[in-house]
Symmetry: C2
Subunit: 155 residues, 2 copies
DNA sequence: AGCTGAGGGTTTGATAATCCAACTCACTGA
DNA sequence: TCAGTGAGTTGGATTATCAAACCCTCAGCT
C-alpha cells in the first residue's frame, strides 16, 4: 500500500497491516493458530497471497518466524511485542462487528479476567475518562494540513 | 470484500471498512472534512474509487449523504452513529502508528478533555481492568472452529 | 450572452493485484 | 514403496486500481 497525502499514523499503520487478510492473519496468530496451512484455511487467503502477507508482516517486525522443526525445515509465525500491541485494533474491530453485524450471535466471545464477557472501552490513560468524540480535540501538526485541506500554493 | 471462512466479527467488519481508503475516508469525515473533492485530495484516493467507497459506506449505514445545496444539488458526507462508533478503531490504529512508526513526531495529536495528550487504553467496561492479551480468554462459539481449525469431515 | 471556475462526479484504457489450481520439494509414518 | 502432510511456487485468468480526461450544473463576472 502507498502512503497517503495527509501525514497520519492511521494511514501509515494501514500501509503495513491494511492489505486484505493481514489483520485476519494477526487474528489467527493471536488465537494461537500459527502454521501456514491452517492460517490459509481459516482466513480464506490464497496461498500465494498469504506468503506475501506473512513476508511483509515479518519484515515489519509484527510477526516472527520460529522454526518448530529442522529436517524438514518448518516455521511457524508468532506475534512480536509490536504485533501484540495491535490487539486493541482487533478488539475494537470485533466489538463494532459484534454490535452492528452480529448482534444476536457473536461468533467469538472474549472473556476478561474479571469473569465477565468483555465490553471494551477506550479511555484516556492519564485521567481514566472515556475517549470518544465528545471528549477529544484534534491538533493537526503538519503545516498546511488543517481540516480545511492542504496548502494550494506554497511558493 | 468476501466473507472469510472463519465466522468472525473482525472479518465481517473488515468486509465493510477494510478496503483501501475506507478508513481514511472515515478519518477525514471525523476530522470534519466532508466534501468529495477535499476527501479525494486528503486521502489520495482516485475519484472513481472514492465514489465507490462512499457509496458502500452510505449503504452500510456508516456515512450519510446530506444535501448542503439545492441547485446545484451538492452533498456532503457525515458519520452516522454507527460510523462514530468506529472511532475507537481509528484511535487504536493511530496509537500504534504513533508508537511504532512516528515515535518522534506524531502528525496528529489527540487532546483529551482532561487536558492531556491522549494515550488510549482499552479496558473492560464492567471491571475497569486492562483488556490486553494476558487478561483475555477466547471462546470460539462456532462449532468446528476452535483454534485447531475447521471440521475436516462433517459427513 | 458569453466566459471562467467550482463541485461532484463518470468514462476510458493501461497497470497492478488477486484468485485458483496445479505443481514442487522434503520429508514421515504405514 | 506408497500415500500423505506441510510449506510454499508457478502460471494464467479475472478483477481492482490508477491517472487523466471528460461531463454536467450552476454562480458570478463582464
Amino acid at each position: 500500500m502507498k502512503a497517503s497525502p495527509r501525514p497520519c499514523s492511521i494511514a501509515d499503520t494501514l500501509a503495513l497491516v491494511g492489505e486484505k487478510y493481514s489483520l485476519l492473519v494477526l487474528r489467527e496468530v493471536s488465537l494461537g493458530v500459527r502454521r501456514f496451512d491452517r492460517i490459509a484455511r481459516n482466513t480464506g487467503a490464497p496461498r500465494d497471497i498469504l506468503t506475501a502477507r506473512l513476508k511483509r508482516l515479518v519484515e515489519a517486525g509484527i510477526l516472527e518466524k520460529v522454526a518448530y522443526s529442522e529436517r524438514p525445515k518448518r516455521y511457524e509465525y508468532r506475534a512480536t511485542p509490536a504485533g501484540e500491541e495491535l490487539g486493541p485494533v482487533l478488539v475494537t474491530l470485533m466489538a463494532w462487528g459484534d454490535r452492528h453485524l452480529n448482534a444476536e450471535a457473536r461468533p467469538v466471545v472474549l472473556e476478561h479476567s474479571c469473569g465477565e464477557v468483555l465490553d471494551p472501552r477506550v479511555i484516556c490513560a492519564s485521567c481514566g475518562g472515556e475517549a470518544d468524540r465528545d471528549h477529544l480535540k484534534h491538533h493537526v501538526r503538519s503545516p498546511g494540513w488543517t481540516t480545511s485541506g492542504p496548502v494550494e500554493d506554497e511558493r
